[in-house]
Amino acid sequence: MNLTGEERALLDGADGPGIARAMEILVALGQVFDAPRMVPVLNAQISGISFKNIGQSGLDFLADWADLGARVQVPAYMNPGGVDRELWEDLGISQEFADKQFRVVSTLERMGVTPFLSCTPYHGLTGPEPGQHLAWSESSAVIYANSVLGARTNREGGPSALAAAIAGRTPAYGLHTDAGRLACLRARVKVKNLRDISQFGALGYLAGQRAGSRVVLFENLALPGNQAKRTWALKSLGSAMAAAGAVGLFHIAGMTPEARDPNHLPLAPDAEYIEIDDLEPAYAALGGRSAGEVDLVFIGCPHLSRGELQLLIEALRGRVVKTRLFLTSSQIVRAWARETGALDELFEMGVRLLADTCVVVAPLAEMNIRSVATNSAKAAVYIPSHHGIPVFLGTLDQCLTAAETGQWTS
C-alpha cells in the first residue's frame, strides 16, 4: 500500500498515539484487502454503540482510545444505542444499563463523535453527493448511501469507521472503486404489484441470501409512486439485503444513480442471473406465517423519516391500540413531531415514538417484551437471534391489526 509522506508520519506517531492507532488499523485493513492507497472521507458513521452489543470490552476499548487523545478529523455520527435518552425510565430499562449506555455515548463525544444516535444519517443531514467517499458502518445506511445516493463506502465495522473518522481517510478498496461497484448478481423480479413496505423487505431478504457479499442489479422492479413510500421501500429493500447477506450495494435498472441508462448497466461480465417470483419463502422464514400472542408492534427499522411517520399516522387513525406499539426515529424527526402536534396525537393513541434507539439493540428482556410483530424484514432477521424471542413479519396493516388484537394470525 502506498502511503503519502503525511500518512507515513501519522502512522509513526507525529500527531500522537490516538491517530497513530487509527492509521495502524486502516493500514492493516488496506493490506488485507489490497488497497493501493488511502482516500479522504467526507464523514463517518459509527456503529457498535449499544452497550448491549459491545459490552464492557467495547466500552473499555473506546475509553482507552479516547485517553490516547484520539479526536475525529471529519464529522462522525453515532448509530442508535440501547436507550431513549428521554424515555428510558418509562420503558423499564434499568439504571445500571442506562448508566453504561451513557458512558459509551459520553466517551465517543469526548472523541468528537456527534450523538446523532440514528441509523438514517441520510435523513436530516446534508449530503452526501454522488461519488463522495464515506466510512459508514450501519449496514442499512451503507447500502442506502451506495445504492440510492451514489456515494461510496465499504461496510465498515465500528472500530474501522471510527479509525477513518480519526484519520480522516480510509483504504480505497471494494465499493470505493469503479470495478468493485459492478453487479455480480442480476436479479429479475417476477413478482407483480409490490405495494406493501414489507414486500420490499421480503424481496431484499431473498436477494440478500442469494447474493452473499455480491453487488446486485435488479431488473423489472417498480417502486411506489408516492415519494415518502418510495424512499421507505428502498430503505426496506436495502436493509433486508444487508441483513440476510453482506450486500453493500444494489442497482435498480432504469432508476438508481449508477444504473439509469438501460444501455450501460453496471454489470460484471460473468454475472449470475436469477429470477425471484415468490416472496412467500421470506414471510415463512421470518415468522409471518405462524400464529401467536404479540407483545410489541415495532415499526421504524430503519428509523422513520417525517414522510414515513405521516403515512403511519394516517394508517393509525381510527384504530384502538391494545399492545405496546413502538415507532423509532431520530431526535430530529421527534422534535418535528412535537412541534406539529403529531407526538401528542400518537401518545393519545397509546403509541410511543422513540428516538436514539431501536428494538434490535435495546435490552428487550429488561423491558419485559416476549414477542414482536414488525413490517421490517431486517428487524425480523435480527430479533430472534439477538433476543431469543419470536418475531412475526407482515404488512403494515397486519401489524397495526395485531396491535389492536394482541394476536398474530396468518
Binding site: A28, V32, G48, S57, G157, P159
Partner: protein, 149 residues
C-alpha cells in the same frame, strides 16, 4: 525448523504451542473474554482455552464486536500468543491491531498440528519440533518425513 509462507497482518515476536481449529472461530459470544475459553456449543475447541496459544484457524466468523473481544482478552492477560489464519478479514485484522497480537494469514494450515511449537519474529513464522509428547498423528507425520514420503 520449517518456515511457513505467510503474509503479516500484525508483526511482533511470540512463541507458543499451536491450538488448531479446523473451522472458523466466532469471538463475540463464543469466547469468554475473562478466561479465553471457547464456549460455542458444538465447536471442536469447546472448553479449551486459547490463552497463550498460537491459535491456528481458517478465518473468523460472526459479529464485528469480535475485535473488542480480542482487546478484552489482551487486557485480561488471556490473549493468544499469535494468530495464524488462511484468510484474515476485518474482525481479526482490527482485533490484531488493537490487541497487539502478532497475526499472519495465507498460512497453509495442513502444515500445522496441535502442540507444534511455533515462533514468530521479524515477520516470519517458524515451526519447531513439538516439545510435548507428540500425538499419534504427529508421530505418523514425522515418520513420513523421515522415510521421505
Amino acid at each position: 525448523m520449517d518456515e511457513l509462507n505467510c503474509r503479516a497482518i500484525r508483526q511482533g515476536s511470540a512463541a507458543g504451542d499451536v491450538l488448531k481449529s479446523p473451522v472458523a472461530i466466532g469471538f463475540f459470544g463464543h469466547v469468554d473474554p475473562a478466561t479465553g475459553t471457547v464456549l460455542e456449543p458444538g465447536h471442536p475447541l469447546l472448553g479449551q482455552s486459547i490463552a497463550g496459544r498460537v491459535l491456528a484457524f481458517p478465518h473468523a466468523k460472526g459479529s464485528t464486536v469480535g475485535s473488542y473481544v480480542l482487546y478484552a482478552l489482551r487486557k485480561n492477560g488471556v490473549a493468544p500468543a499469535a494468530m495464524l489464519l488462511e484468510e484474515c478479514e476485518t474482525i481479526v485484522a482490527v482485533g490484531a491491531i488493537i490487541a497487539d497480537i502478532p497475526t499472519f494469514d495465507h498460512i497453509d494450515l495442513s502444515k500445522l498440528a496441535d502442540g507444534d511449537r511455533v515462533i514468530v519474529a521479524g515477520g516470519r513464522v517458524l515451526r519447531d519440533e513439538p516439545l510435548a509428547t507428540p500425538k499419534l498423528a504427529s508421530v505418523e507425520h514425522r515418520e513420513a518425513q523421515i522415510s521421505g514420503i
